[in-house]
């Protein structure tokens, strides 16, 4: 069963652009990416769109659909009212390249700034022992498919270009949390760095990152807030600071 669907697709590049009206056929059970491909094959052969697995596993087809950051392959056309047109734009927090494709290099730069995992030198390959309960928290964050929807929706950079210098963004806060909670990671000052270098304090926990995450990672509750609490432990809690001094645990570095 097919019907006609009205779309408004943003076309253009860094210099200029606007929403273009298109009418296209849509079948039962199709997602927005299917429809975009049909537009591409029948009406706009040079419509630029990034995609890859078409199964919600690679995080390539990030765009904004009716103003919300989403994966086009995970957005069913049937989830919108039949008679309404659907508006599709590129991500609005990153520089646009062409049509629905944006320059997401910001995220790769930030990835480079996060100190890597440090394995205990005395443990040879195969000797690591970790309990399942100890790896589960970090495993949740490793589900991340790097679609960067959280980075796109976060108002800290979406609404303030100048903050991009000093703010790593939700995707990298879960990376920091993943490493800080990793049962074997040896690097000690992740909490301090999170606050001082990666801009954890910029986050005002308004939770949009969690709302848009296609992997349903509970970014705010399970990563950002626990990291904020861990930062308090080492930076803003005199009692724990004193305790750390006395017991020679991790303190303010």
């Amino acid at each position: 069963m097919s019907r006609k669907l009205k779309l408004r697709i943003w076309r253009g590049d860094a210099t200029d652009g606007g929403l273009k009206n298109v009418e296209v056929e849509v079948n039962e059970g199709e997602v927005v990416l299917d429809v975009i491909h049909r537009v591409q094959a029948t009406q706009m052969g040079d419509l630029a769109v990034r995609w890859n697995c078409k199964a919600g596993k690679c995080g390539s087809c990030s765009m904004e659909i009716n103003g919300k950051p989403r994966l086009a392959c995970m957005t069913q056309v049937a989830s919108f009212p039949e008679d309404e047109e659907i508006t599709i734009t590129p991500l609005r927090a990153f520089p646009v390249i062409k049509d629905l494709v944006t320059d997401v290099s910001f995220n790769y730069k930030k990835a480079m700034e996060i100190p890597s995992y440090e394995h205990p030198a005395e443990l040879k390959p195969g000797e690591a022992r970790m309990a399942q309960v100890d790896v589960e928290r970090s495993q949740e964050f490793r589900k991340c498919i790097e679609c960067f929807l959280c980075q796109d929706v976060c108002h800290v950079v979406r609404d303030h270009e100048e903050n991009k210098k000093s703010f790593a963004g939700p995707r990298f806060f879960i990376r920091i949390a993943e490493l800080d909670m990793h049962p074997l990671d040896r690097l000690k000052n992740r909490k301090q760095k999170a606050q001082e270098e990666h801009g954890l304090g910029m986050c005002n926990i308004t939770k949009c990152c969690t709302e848009v995450c296609p992997e349903h990672i509970r970014i705010t509750d399970n990563a950002i807030i626990p990291m904020k609490e861990r930062v308090v432990d080492v930076k803003y809690d005199p009692v724990r600071w004193l305790g750390a001094k006395i017991r020679k645990r991790e303190g303010i570095v």
Partner: protein, 627 residues
Amino acid sequence: MKTLEKHRYDVVVIGAGGAGLRAAVEAREAGLRVAIVCKSLFGKAHTVMAEGGAAASMGNVNDKDNWQVHFRDTMRGGKFLNNYRMAELHAKESPDRIWELEVWGALFDRTKEGKISQRNFGGHEYPRLAHVGDRTGLELIRTMQQRIVALQQIDAKENGDAESHIKVFAELTITEILKEGNKIAGAYGYWRENGNEVLFEAPAVIIATGGVGKTFKITSNSWEGTGDGHALALKSGANLIDMEFLQFHPTGMVWPPSVRGILVTESVRGEGGILTNSLGERFMFKYIPSVFKEMYADNEEEADRWYLDQDNNRRPPELLPRDEVARAINSEVKAGRGTQHGGVFLDVSKRLPAEVIKKRLPSMWHQFFELAGVDITKEAMEVGPTCHYVMGGVEVEPDTAAAVGVPGLFAAGEVAGGMHGSNRLGGNSLSDLLVFGRRAGMGAAAYVKNNSGSSVSDSAIAAAAARIEAPFTKTGGENAYSLHAELQEVTHNLVGIIRTGKEVEEAIEKIATIRARSANVAVVGDRKFNPGFHLAFDLDNMLLVAESTAKSALLREESRGGHTRDDFPGMNSKWRQVNHVSNFDGNKVNVKAQPLVTLSKELFELFDVHELEKYMTQEEIVKGGSN
């Protein structure tokens, strides 16, 4: 005229999936300067789709497991057509490759003792697959991506430039591998973003481009699986072997359309999912081949008991190697017992409680529920064969992954041939890309030590540039999208899961016609992120791959693993002794038979002679392997 962007590296790695990244890490650690080139963004490669796990005989769950058992399983799975040396290296080195990932920060699921947990999988005698829920591929790729970042951070600290030794060129297509004399001299391509051309000068090139699925209509592969590496290798003078062997995953979604082609992982069956036809029969019991009779249950009671007691019961036939399952499903559908969309039912909802399904198969559940509103805890899935993996690929030296006949060219991962023989076991691809990715990196490092490489001649550059410009010079030519669709139709119907000589011949003719027309492909628009332009090059690659597959399939007059001939239904020991080798003469692909390397005596003795009798001729058995 703009100046051409030029780079000089020790090695160019084409492809940033598991094999490419592993090769890059190894090459970098050997001191090489490495360029990683990929068509997508960094970290999006098809490896992320691998769900089940990575096979390695660590023996964490069952300590009877060891490399010899893994080797035997791999050879059986490949129906003894495997390059035995590759299978041997793979079985021996896989555990180290998995453990090494842990050192780089990977977090696999754990056993009670805190070791890496391992799960059962089709064709593996013991629980062997290291896994992370059902997103193991993502874990692998992310770990290696982060390993590369870690190495870049070291470079930044030591010499002030993070990209001094490894640079990732994302969203760049390589259109040509360049040679000077008979040796590799570099690679040529263009940025997808703006169409600007790039020259890489390097003495070594590692191809790690993955598969060819997009040649077929229904496939689990993404747009990237267009056989680029296969075609690049052919065009640069290397051979492809075993191209008739393609794995059609038995359980791809056939309905609804938004998830068509997407794999339903074998672990759904491993966790208790059963296959039924439209009559409600659990049909797999009818399809147990004689070689597997002793290992698989022939009745439902025993099969169900196996989930609780694996030592005293035979396994359910749903866990047969995947080609057997694919063939069974195909037979059921052809006999008119399929669903209305041409598949069969796979049901786990009646076997396990909803919470258990969600816990054990989280991304399976989440994916189908979100993509298509199908809840696998409540209803059966409609599944059928989908093109998943190509066993065939570049002919390589097992120890170095060096492409035979082209000094400086290496290949690893799905694009390399030989390792899996006629059929790959689930879980062996992730370990394959780690083992041979590393070996390709080592091989390239050793090669570069003695070969500094030469610069690319201006005439070669001009020729490569002219080929990129070609589609823009045509007006009113062929449309790449429709030619691609025609090709997919031909391959799927005529060289798909079940083949006959007549159909394959027809396919060869049709592919040749499409290929002739493709010379006239014209592109609308400019070079800036233009998918029509990109497809023009992918199409050329897919046509070569299809030609090679069809011609190999025509020669092999038997059915084995991922190659099923309706006109030659049985396996024939005579055909086990040869590989089919494709090369390209500039106009067409030529395929010839080449004797298979004989199993070494030491490895020969790992098998029971009675088992070998099912695969080998009497003379081979008497000879008892080579030395």
